[in-house]
Amino acid sequence: MLTKRIIPCLDVTNGRVVKGTSFTDLKDAGDPVEQASFYYREGADELVFLDIGATPEGRDTMAHIVEQVARKVFVPLCVGGGLRSIEDMRRILKAGADKISINTAAVNSPALITQGAEIFGGQCIVLAVDARRHNENDIIHWEVCTHGGRKATGIDALEWIHRAVDLGAGEILLTSWDADGHRAGYDNELNRMVSEMVNVPVIASGGAGTLEHLYEALVTGKADAVLAASIFHYREYSIKEVKDYLTSRGIPVRIQAGQV
């Protein structure tokens, strides 16, 4: 049986891991290579690196970080943030990433999804979506936000995701703009709607504060994987504690074996 993936996310800027609330108010959370090695040893199923600075210098720094991480960490690495072109993608993949995630660039130029999927394979192209919840006359919908959540686009998130999968996106990294950083649980209505709509894996992101939240995202939200940052960075929970808990609740997860 395919197991559910537990994915620590490392938000990186200026070569450091940082953590904030709703994309602002950032705190230092360590060295990315050290953090990545730590999570690997703990049994993380995959790692996501997001360059939240998303500057040209940041891309150089990120490529260098990925190169170092790939020599020590033997689980899939997904890298995103500020990737704007096929060349940007190629460089990060060559540095050792297995997948690249695109958000703003895909909204600005949806053809980038198709080009990336054709050149590198659809399984490499993760569409990252920051979805902001709206409730108008009791009709709930989600709007795509870009530029690290700072810019509202007016685009319906569900329509966008549907289109992006048709264009070739192989996986969806779905972040709730509202829940992110608040540690009060994922937006599982959003997670479930997307997971039931598309035939590619969905990674739920934004809002993890407790072990129960992770369980809910997988069961109520029907996500294929859960991503979390702060609960891991501040060592509130180890990956093993997460997996022991999920196992006790009947969720299939990978149990880490010893070192070679």
Partner: protein, 208 residues
Amino acid sequence: MSKNSGKIAIIDYGAGNLGSVINALNRLGYRPAVTDSIAEILNSDAVFLPGVGAAGDTMKRLDATGISRTIRELVRLHRPLFAICLGLQLLLSNTEEDDGQACLNIISGSVKRLPPGLKIPHMGWNQVRQLVAHPVFSGIPDSTDFYFVHSYYAEPLDKSVIAAETGYGINFCSMIIRNNLVATQFHPEKSGEPGLLMYNNFLKMALH
């Protein structure tokens, strides 16, 4: 004796990302050559055939460069060969990917698309159930999770070559072993410590 006493080649056919296989072998203390030279491949003690990309394009490249014939030759000579993911699929006779593309026909059978109903690609960690005893499994418990990412699976006609199977809607062949040929549908280089151990077992078998 140093681990570098044997020659290891990773076949470079101009597509796919070979970096993760190189990193895994480096971590185990080996220094593989990444090469498209037929002479160098034939002169190696252990050969890796990585596979990322589309079947049609890859077969065209392998045929155009003559590496197809080299791979058949390696198998005929019982040379240690480790094929990964698409590398495993290319060993079969043909594939449903790219309109019934002909493959290397080293293992009789076809490659089929995973059945509808579950998410495709099959992406993530899944159990590899060992069906045979083999040194490549040394120290790796039965049903250990390995990392998969694929939309097609191999169906060999001779079931005795199926060394492991994995469930995803159906039970499919996740590993082929025949003589010194070892092939995995999963990616050992992305499967944490058990994956590294599998490469190490194979290289010990091949080089010592």
